[in-house]
C-alpha cells in the first residue's frame, strides 16, 4: 500500500519537472491546498535548472526557478555536511544517483519522506523513507 501523500515531503527534481510538465496533478493539488509542504534540496534546484536550460535556455530556467521559490510554497534546503555525509553513505551502499542520495538524506535530516518518480533503481533498492509515485 502506498504511504499517504501529506505533510512535509522532500521532492525530487523529477517530480518538480513533472509538475512543470503538467503531470502529477494529485501532488500539485495537495501543495496548493497545503496538505503537502514541499521541501527542495538545492541539488534538485540545480538539476531542474540545467535540464530546463538545455531545453529552453538560461533565461527561461532562471525565470521558472525564481517563480518556484517566490511562490512561497517550497522550502529550499541547503545540503549541510551532515546531509552530504549521509548521502555519501547511501551512495556507497546503493546503486542510485548522487542527486537521489542527497534528496533521501535531506528527507532523513528533516525526519520526513522523499517523493520520487517511479524509478527502477529506487524500486530495486527499497529505501525506508522513499515514496514512489
Amino acid at each position: 500500500m502506498r504511504k499517504e501523500l501529506k505533510g512535509n515531503m522532500v521532492l525530487d527534481a523529477g517530480v518538480i519537472l513533472n509538475l512543470l510538465e503538467g503531470e502529477k496533478e494529485e501532488v500539485f493539488n495537495k501543495i496548493v491546498r497545503g496538505e503537502i509542504t514541499p521541501i527542495i534540496s538545492e541539488i534538485s534546484l540545480f538539476e531542474v535548472f540545467y535540464i530546463i536550460c538545455r531545453v529552453k535556455g538560461e533565461t527561461v530556467a532562471e525565470n521558472l526557478i525564481r517563480k518556484l521559490v517566490e511562490s512561497g510554497f517550497y522550502s529550499v534546503s541547503k545540503p549541510s555536511w551532515r546531509i552530504l555525509r549521509e548521502a555519501a553513505s547511501l551512495k556507497c551502499s546503493h546503486a542510485i544517483s548522487l542527486a537521489d542520495c542527497v534528496v533521501i538524506a535531506t528527507a532523513k535530516a528533516h525526519r520526513t519522506v522523499a517523493l520520487f518518480n517511479n524509478e527502477e533503481e529506487l524500486r530495486k533498492n527499497r529505501i525506508d523513507n522513499v515514496i514512489l509515485i
Binding site: 523529477g14 512543470l20 510538465e21 535540464i51 538545455r54 531545453v55 521558472l64 517566490e70 511562490s71 510554497f73
Partner: protein
C-alpha cells in the same frame, strides 16, 4: 456573586538595537494608519510574527508554473543525464 477577573499577561523587556527600534516604530505608525486604531509595540511585534509564520504565499505563481513546459519530456531527459553521469563516473573512477 463572583466577579469575572481579567487575566493580564505579564510584560517583559527585550533589548533591541536603536536602528531596529526605529524600524519597529515605523511599523507601529503604518499599522496605526492602516487600522485607524491605537497600535502598541507589542501589537506590531505580534503582527510581524503572524506574517512570518503565515509566509508570503503566492498561489498564482504555482498555477502559472503547473504545465508551463507541457510536452517537453524533461523528466526523461533528467533520467538520461543521470545515467550518463553514472557512466562517466564509472569510466573515470572505475567504481
Amino acid at each position: 456573586m463572583v466577579e469575572k477577573v481579567e487575566v493580564v499577561e505579564k510584560e517583559e523587556s527585550v533589548k533591541i538595537k536603536t536602528s531596529t527600534k526605529k524600524s519597529l516604530m515605523r511599523v507601529v505608525g503604518l499599522l496605526q494608519e492602516k487600522t485607524g486604531k491605537r497600535v502598541t509595540v507589542d501589537d506590531a511585534v505580534a503582527y510581524l510574527i503572524r506574517r512570518f509564520e503565515a509566509g508570503e504565499k503566492k498561489p498564482e505563481l504555482l498555477f502559472e508554473l503547473f504545465g508551463v513546459l507541457k510536452g517537453s519530456k524533461l523528466s526523461q531527459k533528467l533520467m538520461a543525464e543521470r545515467t550518463l553521469d553514472e557512466e562517466r563516473a564509472k569510466r573515470k573512477y572505475g567504481a
